[in-house]
Structure formats: C-alpha cells, structure tokens
C-alpha cells in the first residue's frame, strides 16, 4: 500500500496533497558473511570432532567384525570335529561330576585307625568315648578317656602330626578334642 501523507497549507491557498505512491518495500539484506563463517565452522568441527574419530572407530569395528567372522568359522569347524568324533558334552560333564563326587568320599576308616593309633601311642589302654565327624564344616570332635592330664597335650601333639589334621585343640575339662580336617 502506498504511504499516504497529507499536508495542509494556509486556508487561502489551495490544499496540496502529497502522496507518496512508492510502495513500502523492505530493502534486501546486505549479504551476510557470518553465514559463510558459521557453515565453515560447522563443517570443520564436524570433520574434526565427528568424522575423524568416527573413521578410526569404523576401522576398529571392521577389524573386530573380521575377527568375529574368523572365530565363528573356526568355532563351527571345531564343533563339526566334535560331532565327527561323537564327543558328547553332557556325558563328559556327568563324568566330571561323578569324579568330583568320588573325590568327596572321606576316608573315615583311615581317620579312625590313625586317630586311635595316635591316642594309643600316648596311653595304650585309652579309648574313644564319642566321635562326631561333620563333613559340612570338616571337623571331628572326639571325647577320649585319658588317665594322665599330661596325656591330653601329648595326644593333641600326636593329632597335629597326622596328615589329614589341619588343626587340633582340646579342652581337658570336657576330655574333648576338636580337629579340623584338611581337604
């Protein structure tokens, strides 16, 4: 729309009307060099901070993926060998568990004879009054009748010399020995 402006003169004179008929246009912006700078900064820092490290990571990823392919192929080949030799993992696992179980069979008979021999090496007529072996905490609690009070210390020393005894202690008042069995 044209910008109309009116100006009144003296009453005797005729009125002149000044009309600005030029359109009200915005002048085009001057070319802004800042935009170019922003684009350049964006491109440079994208290259520096994103593209450069990313290309390094891409190489790492490619190497890892290549290794993964090689290892998968190798694993498949060995799996095929396992099948070819009819190696059954489940049976091998079960066999291992059976061997583990058999390793846990405590030789209590040997323990009895060794303990009795150790006691009777100190007092030949001594006898075991009670015995309590517990595999859960690997201890043997013994109550032994001994005639001499010094014998308790000697029996304890004899117990400590036994191969399967890790530790031994006694309370003379209860006539009791507590032995920790080594695995």
């Amino acid at each position: 729309m044209p910008n109309r402006r009116f100006q009144s003169k003296d009453a005797e004179q005729s009125d002149f009307i000044y009309v600005d008929l030029l359109p009200d246009m915005r002048r085009p912006r001057q070319f802004n060099v800042n935009i170019i700078l922003i684009v350049l900064v964006a491109v440079f820092f994208t290259w520096l901070l994103v593209y450069w490290p990313l290309s390094g990571r891409q190489n790492q990823l490619d190497e890892a993926l290549n290794l993964n392919n090689d290892l998968t192929a190798q694993r498949d080949y060995i799996e095929s060998q396992i099948d070819a030799y009819r190696i059954d993992r489940d049976r091998i696992d079960l066999l291992g568990s059976i061997e583990t179980a058999l390793d846990n069979q405590i030789n209590m008979t040997q323990y009895h004879s060794d303990l009795l021999a150790a006691i009777q090496s100190v007092e030949s007529d001594a006898r075991i009054r009670s015995i309590n072996y517990n595999a859960s905490n690997n201890t043997i609690t013994l109550r032994v009748n001994l005639q001499r009070s010094l014998s308790y210390e000697n029996v304890n020393i004899a117990f400590l010399d036994l191969e399967f005894v890790a530790n031994s202690s006694y309370t003379q008042s209860n006539q009791e020995f507590i032995l920790e069995v080594s695995d």
Binding site: R57, N104, H112
Partner: protein, 191 residues
C-alpha cells in the same frame, strides 16, 4: 536494522550452539560406535574361550571312550524310587553285618531333594543333582568297626554315596550299647 553489537552476539551464539550440537552429536555417535565395538570384542573373547575349551575337549576325548549314559547312570542314577533306595541300603547294611535284630534298633530314614549351603562341600553337587540324605541309626557294641564296615560297604558300590556325618557316644555304663548315627548323601540325575 540490528545494531552491530547485537549482530555479533547473535553470530557468536550461533557458533556456540553449532559447536555444542557437534559435540553432542560426537558423543552420541562415538558412544554408539564404542558400545558396538565393545559388544563385538566381548563376543570375540567368548568365542576364543569356547574355541580353546573345544580344542582341549577334542584333544582329550578324540580317541577316548566316554562311558555310555547307562554306565554313568550306575554312579548317579537317572531314576529315583524311595523304596528301591531303602531296600538297597538295608541290603548293603546286611552285607556289612548290620541286621535288623532285637537290641539293634536299626532305623533308616531318607530325606529327599535336600539343599546345602554354599559353604558346604555338597553344595555344587546338590545344585546340579537331586540330593537325598540317608540316615542310618543302630546300636552296637563295636562302634568303630561297624561304622567302618558300613562306610566301606557303601563306598564299594557303584552308586555314589558320600559320608556327611558320623556320630556315636559310648554310654558310661558298659551294658548299654552306643547308638551310632551315620548320614550319607546320594545323588540322582533327574533332568
């Protein structure tokens, strides 16, 4: 028309925003990439471990005859029957010289599917298999010999029996026979 100072501030703000955007994009893209690389490398490590285990498995068992499933089931049976186990234990006790006679007060009790605490030596086996505890009680005048006989008898059979607990206490009176309690654990592969 913006003033020159305002124009400069806007320019610097846009530069800063662009840099912040690039830095955020960098961390997002690189963290995704790093995560993927770590995932592949962990998978590679697992594959290497599997391959090493498989190679040793092949080398060890290539020419070795692994016992058949039925042979292994003799040690850890795959079928459980309470009555069968009970009769089996009584039979073994009889072979060890422990008969259900008067004065003996022979008792056998079975506790099924028991679990053991992590510190117990039976924990690993009881996690893998069904563990049953057998408690044997009897009176005897020769506790050590008879305990040894029972243990040797049950250790001598194919089925795995593990000694869990033995206890006896001689009475002050010689006329009262000591009471012996022996606990064994046996396992069943019921999967």
């Amino acid at each position: 028309m913006l003033s020159k100072r305002l124009n400069d501030i806007i320019f610097i703000a846009i530069i800063v925003l662009v840099l912040i955007g690039i830095v955020i994009a960098r961390f997002m893209v690189l963290s995704t990439m790093d995560g993927r690389i770590e995932e592949i490398e962990a998978e590679n490590q697992q594959l290497e471990n599997e391959i090493a285990a498989d190679i040793s498995l092949v080398e060890e068992y290539r020419y070795e005859n692994i016992p058949t499933a039925s042979e292994l089931a003799r040690f850890i049976p795959s079928h459980y029957s309470r009555n069968t186990l009970m009769y089996f234990v009584f039979a073994q006790l009889e072979l060890a010289g422990i008969r259900d006679e008067s004065g003996r007060e022979l008792r056998v009790e079975i506790q099924e599917d028991i679990s053991y605490p992590s510190e117990s030596r039976f924990n690993e086996l009881s996690n893998r298999f069904s563990a049953n505890r057998i408690e044997i009680r009897f009176n005897t005048s020769e506790p050590i010999d008879e305990i040894d006989n029972v243990i040797e008898q049950l250790y001598g059979v194919d089925q795995v029996f593990l000694l869990q607990n033995v206890r006896y206490e001689a009475s002050e009176s010689e006329q009262v026979a000591p009471r012996v309690v022996i606990n064994f654990v046996t396992f069943y592969n019921l999967d």
